[in-house]
């Protein structure tokens, strides 16, 4: 087995037992990137030199007996997350030359442990998209089939983990951006509860929905990384004060615990038009496996599910349009100087710096928030959001978690949906509702289509129940 193929858990053990060094492990990942990135396009920036020097420092930490869970382990970061002294473009040309002077809090926590930053992952610009085709640095290709999309928006992170170009990745999920590509690339991805992990240093998209989470090869790794990055942060006032549970030891909870669990199957998710038969079969098989483990399967209803996409695509562009106002070519990023006036500078910097989808979202948001339309769009959406949240609150009185597919269909061909933005928005139908309600959800690999494409299964839990969500994900992963 090549070192780059190790999981976080295996790599940490190998480093601790001095079976190999962080430098060797980092070199193995860099070699894999060097070999595969030109085809997959998962990285916008690769940290060849700094990664090796960080690995040397990590080896010294290990030699001094100061190793912590993530010391010396190479990780990749979505380019919409700030990394000190490493270029962070958000996959948009307006930040082509931007090098943040500080680390996002979650990244700082990992780097303080001696984590090795190997590079920055391609994504849909500022997280806008479900196929990773809205990057100004080209689409990410699915490692399982290079003609297919990797999913988005964190497609580069998912592809990098799936193709062993890094050991794990840190990404961001506003409406499905971690879970969706995790499903398409066959890796584990979790959106934590809103407020569980600090958003400080994340390029903001929709501030009332944005979350940061890991993408990993196994659920055990997910728990391990979550335990290291979760927690309140004075720099993000929306983080919750709740103590971080011992996720890593928690997920291995005895199988006995499964016997008392009630798993809800929300019927609205299975009545979605155009749902792929193989997706349905694989999800049904996983439901059977949970039954075998002693779980009680309960048919439940979330009546407002069909409104979640409309709610999501009003709230998100509205918050997007105000958040992205900061990118204007004034204080940082790329300034266009072709025009004469201040207005020209704003309008041209934004014209050449944003891809079409970013412009569309800013325009929709500007419209939805403008005088006369606020009540009809933004306020109405936030009211329906209350009803969607209430659906979940009520259903979690009856069941512990919900199981659904992550995506209604397997990975599609690059170019297939780019001309129809609304069709692309509707792809979020399974992942959007949990985001709107601010609750945790994990995507774990469920199986593969006959043509070998990965299909993910999603477990959704009540607020702050990521421990339970990962626990069930762990046993699902084991029940092949």
């Amino acid at each position: 087995m090549n070192l780059n193929e190790l999981t976080v858990t295996q790599a940490a053990e190998g480093l601790r037992k001095k079976e190999f060094t962080s430098v060797k492990l980092t070199e193995a990942c860099l070699a894999r990137i060097n070999k595969r990135n030109k085809d997959i396009n998962a990285f916008i920036t690769v940290c060849d030199e700094s990664a090796i020097s960080e690995a040397k420092k990590a080896d010294e930490m290990i030699a001094r007996g100061e190793a912590r869970p993530l010391t010396g382990i190479p990780f990749a970061v979505k380019d919409a997350i700030c990394t000190a002294d490493v270029r962070s473009t958000g996959s948009a040309k307006i930040l082509d030359n931007y090098t943040p002077p500080y680390d996002a809090t979650v990244i700082k926590k990992i780097r303080d442990q001696g984590g090795v930053l190997i590079g920055k992952n391609n994504c849909d610009a500022f997280g806008h998209g479900a196929s990773n085709e809205n990057s100004m640095y080209g689409p990410v290709r699915n490692p399982h089939d290079l003609t297919k999309v990797a999913g988005g928006s964190s497609g580069g992170s998912a592809a990098a983990v799936a193709d062993n170009m890094c050991v794990y990745a840190i990404a961001e999920d506003t409406g499905g951006s971690i879970r969706y590509p995790a499903s398409f690339c066959g890796v584990v991805g979790m959106r934590p509860s809103y407020g569980r992990n600090s958003r400080y240093g994340i390029m903001p998209m929709a501030s009332s929905l944005d979350t940061v989470g890991p993408m990993t090869k196994t659920v055990e790794d997910m728990a391990l990384v979550m335990e290291c990055i979760a927690g309140s942060d004075p720099l993000d006032a929306t983080t919750v004060p709740d103590a971080v549970p011992a996720y890593h030891t928690g997920i291995k909870n005895e199988e006995l615990r499964m016997k008392n669990l009630r798993i809800g199957v929300p019927r609205e998710y299975f009545e979605i038009e155009g749902m792929d038969e193989e997706v349905r079969t694989i999800t049904d098989e996983k439901i059977e496996r949970l039954k075998d483990l002693g779980c009680k399967i309960v048919d439940v209803s979330l009546p407002h599910t069909k409104y979640a996409i409309a709610v999501y695509y009003i709230i998100v562009p509205s918050e997007d349009s105000s958040n992205l106002a900061r990118l204007d070519g004034i204080r940082y990023g790329v300034r266009n100087t072709e025009g004469r006036t201040l207005y020209d500078m704003y309008a041209k910097s934004r014209r050449f710096g944003f891809p079409e989808e970013v412009k569309r979202r800013i325009l929709i948001g500007t419209y939805a928030l403008s005088a006369g339309y606020y009540d009809a769009y933004y306020k109405k959406a936030q009211q329906v959001r209350t009803l969607i949240k209430k659906d979940f609150d009520e259903v979690f009185q009856k069941v512990d978690v919900l199981i659904t597919p992550t995506s209604p269909f397997p990975p599609f061909a690059i170019g297939d949906k780019v001309s129809d933005p609304l069709a692309m928005y509707l792809a979020d139908v399974m992942v959007g509702p949990a985001a709107v309600a601010g609750i945790p959800a994990i995507s774990v690999p469920g199986g593969k289509t006959k043509t070998g494409l990965p299909i993910g299964v999603q477990i959704i839990g009540a607020r702050m129940s990521e421990g339970t969500v990962m626990n069930i994900g762990y046993w699902l992963e084991k029940s092949k």
Binding site: H304, Y307, M345, K359
Partner: protein, 95 residues
Amino acid sequence: MTLSIEEVRKIAQLARIELTPEELARHAETMSAVLDYMNILNEVDTTGVEPTFQVTGLENVYRDDEVVECKLRDRLLKQMPEVEMEELVVPGVFD
């Protein structure tokens, strides 16, 4: 179409984004399709329903008002598109 090209031109001006005539036409078409889809929300009776602006339930999160030194000055200056005598240069605001 819900939105005319002229309306999109006005919105783009408010949002400070220059668009070509082709882009204006395309955005008018795709934005109209998206906004038409949003009408689905009119099926839902929201009389008396409070909006959810945030999900944590946290209120009045305070911190001490302490002066903290920012050690990023030079690195922030380095990110600026144009600097003169350690100050940011911008085009004139008034003609």
